[in-house]
Amino acid sequence: MARFVVRRMASAILLLFAVSIVVFGIFEVIPSYNPARAIAGRNATPTTVAEVSHKFGFDKPVYVQYGKTMELIFTGQVIDYNDNLNVDAQFAQRFPVTLSLVVPAALLWLVASIVLGSISALRVGGFADRGIMVAAILGVSIPVFLLAAVLLYLFAFKLPWFPNTGYVPIQDNPAQWAYHLFLPWISIAILSIGFYSRVLRSNLLDMINEDFVRTARAKGLTRRQVFRHHVLRNSLMPIVTMFGLDFAVLLGGAALVTETVFNLPGIGQYEAQAIGNLDVPPILVGAMFTAFFVVLFSALNDIVYALLDPRVRLTA
């Protein structure tokens, strides 16, 4: 077990290192990239730009810049080029917002997917099944920005049921917190419910034909017992694997469209702005942040899988 953890940590560090190099490298090859100009401002003279460039070290070789940036990141001093804010502090401040958005949405989609996928499989070919599958395809196909915008328009503007964007921290007012986040949760959940319920349905239908399910029925178990203890239990494992990774990237700020549309001051919104401004430090930190979660959840996934499927434990 200890060897497992050490090996995982080592590969995590290597991965973060690799991610940072790739992200940094991308900006070196973008032709329009000129951070000095961005910092100096639109009306700056070439001299000012050159001064800024020198001050920030943009005239130094790439690897020196890289080294300096990484040093700043890990000492918590890195500043973004656009607003002159401490990136690490921004991330710390915005993370709770992203958490508030992502965690309940993920739970919602997980439960809903299991319920809908199960209903679909149990009533395969029937009206409920077809209805759910069509809804699922719609959910997967509709782009998030469109869905978020439509939800906002319909339910916050046209029908004033929900507030018109904004965020209320949970410690201030839990009811308002949930009220403001409701539409964003739906936006994120719908996409994933569509995908997960289809996958679960497919797994369940395969599982129902397995020999051991036939044995379970032959034992005289009720249909509900057979479904819960034999069919569903064995079908959930791929879902768990997918969920781990989806959740990881969301924690890293993948819900940036939703955050932007609903004006939630989370990590995703920050990263989106940074990308728009070609602002390297936040992007770099964001990429590494996400990579960190991916590695973490990847390892957790392996552990959970071993817990769920005893056949895997022999090698672990």
Partner: protein, 346 residues
């Protein structure tokens, strides 16, 4: 006369498919008494598995059509509701399947799987159910049963897994035990042990056993009575001695003839029954075996009913129009019972 334990009357099972109606079981009737072992023999596709799975209600599906009856303890298994079947399955009638590796839930502990069946039918505590599970495992010959309760299926060998299946099936002392080719997936040495277990345990619980197999060696070892199935029908039925020593149907001769005997020189070519079983979508008119039978004659265009045709053996039934003397002559091929290859005396 007392009512038999299981009474199957004119069972018919068909499946509606895109290509037509597949008549998988076409009028099968037989009885089973407590303590007796009835073997159902036939090739793949003869309908033997569908017959026994239907008794358990496991063939029910939107495209399945049933007719006939299977009476067990006063109730008809064919028309019983799903709830009634759930009560009966595992308790009055139990089944073990062919492939023990895939027939057990891979992520559930063995003890729990056995206990699950007990708990589904009796109001006992989980602890007591597990105790009984350990006891059952011990009785089927699994060493250190109490320690192995928490083991998973993949930690057992094939023979052990099949013993677990047997333990599970007999856990509630069902009246009827159905074994669907339980030894086909196991090697021969284990096969002998498993057969012994089945026979011993069914004697202990006084169950009747329906043993489905294509292996005549197994039949000779374990059966009291034999049912021979072909293309969805019973073509011959009788006691073990009657079937092995006085078979009346050419298909049975073919089966007997294809077994290599230890007391004789091995043949140059293994005798096989020429041709293929008919498609169950388009069953031949008349005797189903007619197209492949070297002894077919004009009467064979008429479906032969399953009847006793041997004087003095009222329970030896067969479906062949040939008269008794003819049968006893024609089945002698090369000094033993078999099916003549090619044209013979008509």
């Amino acid at each position: 006369m007392t009512e038999p334990l299981l009474d199957v009357q004119d069972l018919q099972v068909s499946f509606a498919t895109e290509d037509g109606l597949v008549r998988a079981v076409d009028g099968v009737s037989f009885t089973l008494e407590r303590g007796e072992v009835v073997a159902i023999v036939g090739e793949s596709g003869s309908g033997k598995s569908v017959t026994v799975m239907t008794l358990m209600g496991l063939t029910r599906s939107p495209n399945a059509r049933f007719a006939g009856s299977a009476r067990l303890r006063g109730g008809d298994l064919i028309t019983a509701s799903e709830q009634e079947l759930e009560r009966v399955r595992g308790k009055e009638i139990a089944m073990i399947f062919q492939d023990p590796i895939s027939s057990l839930n891979p992520v559930q502990r063995i003890g729990n799987q056995i206990a699950e069946q007990i708990l589904a039918h009796e109001k006992v505590s989980k602890a007591e159910a597990l105790d009984r599970a350990a006891d059952l495992m011990g009785r089927v010959g699994i060493p250190r049963a109490k320690d192995r309760l928490r083991a998973y299926p993949h930690e057992f060998s094939g023979g052990m897994r099949q013993r677990v299946m047997i333990a599970m099936a007999l856990s509630l002392s069902p009246g009827v035990l159905i074994a669907d080719e339980p030894t086909t997936a196991l090697d021969v040495t284990i096969q002998a042990q498993i057969l012994k277990e089945i026979r011993q345990l069914s004697l202990e619980s006084d169950s009747g056993v329906i043993f489905v197999t294509h292996d005549l060696g197994v039949v000779a070892d374990i059966a009291d009575r034999v049912l021979v199935m072909y293309a969805g029908q019973l073509v011959e039925q009788g006691t073990l001695d009657e079937i092995f020593y006085d078979p009346q149907h050419p298909y049975t001769w073919g089966l007997m003839g294809s077994v290599t005997r230890v007391d004789r020189d091995p043949p140059k070519r293994l005798p096989a029954i020429p041709g293929q079983p008919p498609s169950l979508l388009r069953v031949p008119a008349g005797c189903h075996f007619g197209p492949r039978c070297p002894h077919a004659f004009d009467r064979c265009h008429e479906v032969p009913p399953l009847e006793p045709r041997v004087p003095g053996s009222p329970d030896h039934l067969d479906r062949c129009w040939l008269d008794l003397a003819d049968k006893r002559t024609r089945r002698e091929v090369g000094g033993r019972i078999g099916l003549a290859q090619g044209d013979v005396i008509k």
